[in-house]
Symmetry: C2
Subunit: 209 residues, 2 copies
Amino acid sequence: MTRALTRKGEATRARIVAGAAAEIRERGVDEVRLEDVMAHTGTSKGQLFHYFPDGKEELLLAVAQHEADQVLTDQEPMLSNLTSWPAWQAWRDRLIERYLAQGVKCPLNGLLGQTGRRAPGAQAIVTGLMWRWQDKITEGVRHMQSTGDIAPDVDAERTAAALLAGIQGGVLLMLSTGKIDHLEAALDVTIERLRAGRRDDRKLEEVRQ
Amino acid sequence: MTRALTRKGEATRARIVAGAAAEIRERGVDEVRLEDVMAHTGTSKGQLFHYFPDGKEELLLAVAQHEADQVLTDQEPMLSNLTSWPAWQAWRDRLIERYLAQGVKCPLNGLLGQTGRRAPGAQAIVTGLMWRWQDKITEGVRHMQSTGDIAPDVDAERTAAALLAGIQGGVLLMLSTGKIDHLEAALDVTIERLRAGRRDDRKLEEVRQ
DNA sequence: CCAGAAATGGACCTGCAAGTCCAAAACCCG
DNA sequence: CGGGTTTTGGACTTGCAGGTCCATTTCTGG
């Protein structure tokens, strides 16, 4: 019943989701009409409601999932290999690069605020994304602790939460200011301090000896 | 010409803005119809368009300004007196308290994403708010440096940017997770490290002597 | 090649919410 | 008071975007 999609159907559905996502990134959630999606993807209204019987809401949900997946994928393989300071730097650079390229077009922007109220499901998708994201960072911090690059008394979970907050806020501020400074500051200050804290410890030990 | 409001008119206008703001906080920007505002403020359509000739857009702009002003006001007098560690703590506590009380109802939420595209003016309002906010924090950091509580080599501007990003991200994450953990983590980790950095320096100096 | 199912196109319907308009009431000031 | 202005109420218009429907075409499996 729920499974009745031909290969062609599958393709069309994917095309609609991708097109809608692009359109939303470009114009914003509430500026996008179904008609825009149709024009942009070369589909008809019949198709839209064939693949998304619940209409716009269902489509937005699919787009949300699509975009959320993309966010983490774009950070790989760096995000899953935060095992040395150069690796952290590479991840940091990738983030900056990605959001610089993306500019003001943030896929999650609309998802959080507006869509979040409309579709309760969207909220869940975003929340899930954030958890996964934070888990990856926590994992990275723990690994650095295991190699002695980060002091063992650092609360990995808490630090990851703070760093994630900094990233999200940095992106958010980029949306209104148009500059990437806050994202850079949040990333660099946090990472620098993680390193510096350890370096100070070492200095302390060196001096004490 | 631009000035033709009686005291009564002034009052009505203010009532409309305040009512609309409340409604938006409660239901979200795009769920609020002019009719809702009318019902909630006991006004008629004629009045709405009398005080806001450009309609919804102009009203939203007025609401944005109203809310933006409120955000900083709510942090006073702490925000303007970040002159000791207890003062920083008091400010931090005020922020947490405020956002805990506010819950998921963030006035800026809609302003950034959705309204930002609709009304270019709203973008400017939010950006202005962020600048003023960051300036206050920078000032606080500088003051702490002048009293020797924060190391002089700390980049005040950059640190403030990172802290502001953390706050914004923390609030944002609260909107989707419903928990205040990220905001707490962002504030505490950053402030703790500002203090710890200095403490380490002192330890270093003590040990060296 | 042929049923039956899926995919497609597009005309049509419908409801709603922003915006218009004007007449009546309240108000201000000399 | 009284004339002019502001304020108020609410009926009416309008456009639009989401959603419905069905006829037609294309695909799939045997």
